[in-house]
Symmetry: C2
Subunit: 186 residues, 2 copies
DNA sequence: GTCTATATTAAGATAGAC
DNA sequence: GTCTATCTTAATATAGAC
């Protein structure tokens, strides 16, 4: 087969989709190779650490996306409600309207490297902090704001599971719609 | 090695734990054999369908448990709030205080048989119906009661993910504590 | 930097002794 | 009904050509 050119960006986007669909253990190097058009040996050249390293690269990519599209837009000049609404739309896109799983979910079952587990935990803490900061602006104390933030995230995560099992995304939609209320209500 | 006696009950309980921890793809027949003290061939004798059949048997077991400890106690003479509190304590035990995953979560990622996916969906619908029935008693219309029920379940599922990723179960505790309020408030 | 080819280990699955 | 032994397939991983 002729040499292929597959950018890291495209490769990681494809791999992200696979991991979200089949979970860490459900994705083999062959599956990654077939889906991206590269050979297994080429994947090892790019990521000498194998599947662990690929999952780690994906996680880093997603964290970067969250930084730019969730954490950063949450601080700034516009009214808090408007900022949260904007972020909610970004999340709607990331989760494809509730039809794509969260990496935090599928990668947090045991089997993954300690390093990745820690990265997921750190990312989740950053997410909680970002949401809590907004809740604080609306007059909540630190502890209450943190609870509100956790509540918001856990609803998003839970609605994705419900949507996946039931095969309908209405609950995810409802959660996103209520997100501004939840985080900015006094 | 001498013959072993492992009851189906004990076998399925051990297997349930493994699937909740490692997910469907993360559990091999060898792992099941090692953990239960049976040989792989014995597992095939008991469950000719292999891993799919074992996962299915576990799912059926769990549905039976939910029927007895969640669905059934939700109908009956006692005040609604009290019934929900009772069920919340049962759920606390089933999820080991928030430290054990939900089968719905770990088995609903692709890779599992169509039959099992349908069983999970049916079980989830039953759970929603059971919760919705209680919400209806408190004066909500059908649609609102169903939303309340989905909200309750999605919070439980989401808090389990948050607890798993963060390594602390406080959010699961909070969700269970608010469960009676959520389902029985007018 | 990607390929073909292959080594090694583990998975799912079955045959046949006891 | 459980075991040992074995088959087949698929997974991770590496060597070496181009």
């Amino acid at each position: 087969m002729a040499h292929r050119i597959v950018s890291d960006e495209v490769f990681l986007a494809t791999a992200l989709d696979l991991f979200r669909t089949y979970g860490f253990e459900g994705v083999s190097l062959k599956r990654l190779a077939d889906a991206t058009g590269l050979e297994k040996a080429s994947l090892y050249y790019r990521y000498p650490g194998g599947k662990d390293a690929i999952a780690m690269a994906i996680a880093k990519d997603v964290v970067t996306w969250f930084q730019a599209n969730v954490f950063d837009p949450l601080v700034g000049g516009e009214p808090a409600r408007k900022r949260v609404s904007f972020v909610a739309e970004n999340l709607r896109e990331f989760y494809a309207g509730g039809s794509k799983a969260c990496l935090m979910d599928v990668l947090s079952i045991r089997g993954v490297s300690e390093e990745l587990q820690l990265a997921l935990k750190t990312a989740m803490q950053a997410w909680v902090s970002a949401f809590a900061q907004v809740a604080k602006e609306s007059g909540h104390g630190s502890a209450a704001a943190r609870s509100k933030a956790e509540e918001a995230i856990l609803r998003i995560e839970g609605s994705l599971i419900l949507a996946r099992v039931l095969g309908e995304t209405a609950c995810f939609d409802r959660v996103l719609k209520l997100l501004p209320d939840l985080l900015t209500a006094a």
